[in-house]
Symmetry: C2
Subunit: 289 residues, 2 copies
Amino acid sequence: MFSDALRRDAARIGAHLDEVLAKEPDLPVIHGMRYAVSGGKRLRGFLVMEGARLHGVPEAQAIWPAAAIEAIHAYSLVHDDLPCMDDDDLRRGLPTVHRKWDDGTAVLVGDALQTLGFELVLDAACHADPVVRADLALSLARASGHRGMVLGQALDIQAETAETPLTLDQITELQAGKTGALIVWSAQAGARLAQSDLKPLTDYATALGLAFQIADDILDVEGDETTVGKAVGKDADRGKATFVSLLGLDGAKRRASDLVDAACDALSPYGARAQTLNEAAQFVISRDT
Amino acid sequence: MFSDALRRDAARIGAHLDEVLAKEPDLPVIHGMRYAVSGGKRLRGFLVMEGARLHGVPEAQAIWPAAAIEAIHAYSLVHDDLPCMDDDDLRRGLPTVHRKWDDGTAVLVGDALQTLGFELVLDAACHADPVVRADLALSLARASGHRGMVLGQALDIQAETAETPLTLDQITELQAGKTGALIVWSAQAGARLAQSDLKPLTDYATALGLAFQIADDILDVEGDETTVGKAVGKDADRGKATFVSLLGLDGAKRRASDLVDAACDALSPYGARAQTLNEAAQFVISRDT
């Protein structure tokens, strides 16, 4: 079942990251790295693990890119939370890295976590072929850099000062970068490890990523700060265009639900073996955190 | 001759970076990336190119890791200059990225340049074997992350608030991370591309990296702000331990000169073909910028 698989994978990825960071010196940047990668749903890491299982890739191999994507995701959150970016005090119900330490430490923690992500995906200890490791790392760079995640963040910053709110097409493009690109990479990783066709998992994750962001916008309106673990209602307060402001609450829910159907359809080549990923798609729009 | 080779390589690396960033959208983060990688001595990129020439590796291949290390170096400078880090207004005689744009843009520019570094070193367009590309990228991650450059930066921050100034051993360890690791990686890259013995270039660059930092400390005391292109005298003002405060000005100059001799000795297996790298080592301690 999905929730068991998610919990089990999250624990294994956490143990792997703990092990990687266990022997490091006693410095704030190292403590901050450990802190930033602990907790969270680890949905991206789970997508790596489950995509690998679909392709018969051993878990001992998949754990490396799974831990890598969680390090990259954590880096983006640490930097995103900085006062000069989104200025958030709370993340996963705990003080953000710059609140617990300071801004300079948070910059370094994010920098080092990005590097760690590439290190993990390239580590020969995963016993994947160098061709596969180079392919995983190059696609990760493309998904997370100025044509992927960072592009989405830059468009997001630009939107905050724009005179007219974003259109639905613009917000879709923004989110495809900001959250979509890493989710798509995560889902593809198993197929990359197996040097297999990327299309079904790419289509699945493209729809899933967008549904995920629509659900985030809904949570920002309907969610409870204590449960969500971070500030809510921020977008509406800023008068920012969101899927909810553009489609209405019911329209956004319907769109998210249609996207989940599309995501599940994309997995039909895998038949019943894709059951857990189908449940994951349902989870994404029904979560309360 | 060294100065011609440096100028020629710097121009080629600049052109390569311009080409890579030419077709990107009109956003502050992209302008900031172009700005941050323009100018500078490009000593690290030159070491890549020259190490590659020593091993008969084509320039069309070496230009990729050369551009990559300049992107990584630029990322570290953009983040280092932030108000929450070293708080510098001037770099290479021009306003730093956060002064020309803002802190949030500078965080994103640094993040995207780090990613670009990995993308460039992994790009299949360099026609290096995937084994070589994975090796270059993994070693780059190790040199730049929390066991390399970021470790050095973290030790540097810790030293600023420490009650007792650093010892010579501690400052040597700090600098081996902060500046040494990327210089060593740069010098090794040609041997990695040729899948050849790394030892001579590693020994050369280890001595060179330390000499480079000692020269930096001397410039901070003796240099002229306009020529150096950044603030000088900052370390002494802060009462920070440097090679000059620990060894005295003459002692520091003697140590740097001994290190340059050691660097040149390490290249003896290459004979006369190492002439340009020998000159580079001399340049490192005689530069005024």
